[in-house]
């Protein structure tokens, strides 16, 4: 090839590559691009989001020079409002609703159809509760607490025991080092059940019957732990759903203390959340599991398929190979998210007058809560919008999927045209950007509290900025590859 030809080939290749990246729908050999009406390529959104984060970082450095979330700003509402919302009667009503819905779910799982999309239990647990409570918690506070069926059952059993034995039940002392670790492990186990164990059953995914058995087993375990350590102690530290939804409620402007509803500065609850072991693990588990769920059908798909083929070649059965592969990649996602966070913390440690590594690791864990929420919104927004139509129409009227029509809505369907692919993408981008800017703000506030001097605090946050930009680009990459 002559030099001129080679130069022409290089220029042609560069132009073609630029075109391929700018108009990917024209260039991909075997990809279906769902959002052809985006004004710019998806990756350019990651660049724009990074610019927003950098600008926010400098705006915070310039205008936020004293900590605003460290001081307790909680103020109680008037007695009438508090009594109306958090007194005994509404608490008993909420507990009864919670126990009833848990019962309906288990009953539907055991007795209803095995078709996952026609049975009440899967949508109710994995969509309505799992995605709905974080959303409500961020807006209104710890709403799950009064509805928690296990807390209601545990308290009822405890009260009955007290009435018969005429003394409160004896409790073991909860080990302080255990902190929120049981809740973090429970969270991973819950997601594993849905996306790994369910996926292993190649024909049907997670069946309603398996979900009902898992709910019964979890109920037994939770009541046993409550009997050992006390209802409130286990709710506060070990019961996965309570601890998980409570984590999101720390961002809310409302909080109940000693039976009174009050108002506080939004996000200020988060500053006092990460005070015990396992807090980092919980929030990392939230981000890591969501990342894996998004990546398994996009970014990690080829790698997962390759590993799966190798395991099958090595003699594993299809289900075992799939579950083992997914478990390994889930673990990889958890470790990856933890490593990025610890890298940010390690970077902060290099700034003069930095607190100990342990204090930094725990002290900045709450800055990941808005990111965990943003990941949930970004990854499950469309699922939530579509499945909730099913939840409140045909699944409500026909929970067992046996042809009944309790509320006359059994024949309704899901309107998939309610939100388009482009709208979903914009919601995803907005959620990720807002979530990371909130995380950056919380981190900046905490840094000022730790370093005192806002200039040193800003220096320490260079590394958290890198973490936030990394998480944003990674999240957008996962979403763009999953949506292809």
């Amino acid at each position: 090839m002559t030099a001129r030809r080679r130069r022409r080939a290089v220029v042609g290749a560069a132009l073609a590559a630029l075109g391929a990246l700018t108009f990917p729908q024209l260039a991909f050999g075997h990809a279906l691009v769902a959002r052809e009406d985006l004004p710019i390529p998806a990756w350019l959104f990651a660049w724009a989001a990074s610019v927003v984060l950098v600008v926010s970082f400098f705006a915070l450095s310039a205008g936020w020079r004293t900590p605003r979330f460290e001081q307790d700003s909680w103020r109680p509402f008037g007695g009438t409002v508090s009594r109306g919302l958090v007194s005994r009667a509404p608490e008993i009503a909420a507990a009864a609703i919670g126990v009833f819905l848990l019962g309906v779910s288990i009953w539907a799982g055991l007795r209803g159809t095995e078709a996952p999309d026609r049975n009440f239990i899967l949508t109710f647990i994995f969509v309505t509760c799992w995605l709905g409570f974080p959303l409500v918690s961020v807006l209104l506070g710890d709403v799950f607490r009064p509805f928690n069926p296990w807390r209601a059952i545990g308290r009822a059993i405890g009260a009955a025991f007290g009435a018969v034995a005429r003394q409160p039940p004896a409790r073991l002392r909860y080990p302080e080092w255990l902190g929120r670790w049981p809740a973090a492990l429970g969270l991973v186990a819950f997601v594993w059940l849905e996306v790994v164990y369910g996926a292993g059953d190649v024909s049907a995914g997670l069946t309603p019957h398996t979900a009902a058995i898992a709910a019964l087993a979890y109920t037994g375990l939770t009541l046993a732990m409550m009997a050992l350590f006390g209802v409130e102690k286990w709710i506060e530290r070990g019961e996965t759903f309570s601890v998980y939804f409570n984590m999101f409620s720390q961002l809310a402007p409302f909080e109940v203390r000693e039976g009174r509803l009050g108002w506080r500065r939004p996000f200020s609850g988060a500053a006092r959340w990460a005070t015990m072991p396992g807090s980092v693990a919980l929030v990392v588990a939230s981000i890591g599991t969501t990342s894996f769920d998004g990546a398994q059908e996009g970014a990690l798909k080829n790698a997962i398929n390759d590993t799966f083929d190798k395991l099958v070649d090595a003699g594993f059965g299809l289900s075992s190979a799939l579950r083992l592969t997914d478990s390994l990649y889930l673990l990889g996602c958890l470790l990856g998210v933890a490593a990025v966070y610890l890298l940010g913390v390690w970077g902060m440690r290099s700034v003069r007058n930095a607190p100990s590594l342990r204090k930094l690791r725990l002290g900045f864990a709450h800055t990941l809560i808005p990111i965990a929420f943003a990941y949930l919104v970004a990854h499950y927004f469309s699922l939530f919008v579509f499945q909730e139509q099913a939840q409140f129409t045909y699944l409500l009227s026909d929970p067992l999927g046996d042809g009944s029509d309790i509320f006359g809505t059994a024949s309704a369907g899901i309107d998939y045209g309610l939100v388009g692919a482009t709208t979903v993408w914009y919601v995803q981008v907005a959620a990720l950007v807002v979530g990371h800017v909130c995380g950056l703000t919380l981190a900046h506030d905490r840094a000022i509290a730790y370093w005192g001097d806002y200039q040193q605090a800003t220096r320490s946050q260079y590394w958290m900025l890198a973490v936030m930009v990394g998480f944003t680009c990674f999240g957008l990459y996962l979403l763009s590859s999953a949506n292809l």
Binding site: A20, W47, S480
Partner: protein
């Protein structure tokens, strides 16, 4: 354009992840550069202060 080149570009989508890396690299690079220059300035300041006190 040859078939091999066409095939390469038809699969450009597989390498799109590369486009998500530059923002991270730019931020990390800027942080490293800023941190190093700030440390150098601090060292020079301390050295200057030492010299002044010795004189």
């Amino acid at each position: 354009m040859s078939m091999a080149t066409l095939t390469l570009f038809a699969h450009a989508g597989h390498y799109l992840w590369v486009m998500y890396i530059p923002p991270v690299l730019i931020v990390v690079g800027s942080i490293v550069k800023t941190t190093l220059s700030e440390r150098r300035a601090e060292r020079e300041e301390q050295a200057g202060a030492r010299e002044e006190s010795e004189n």
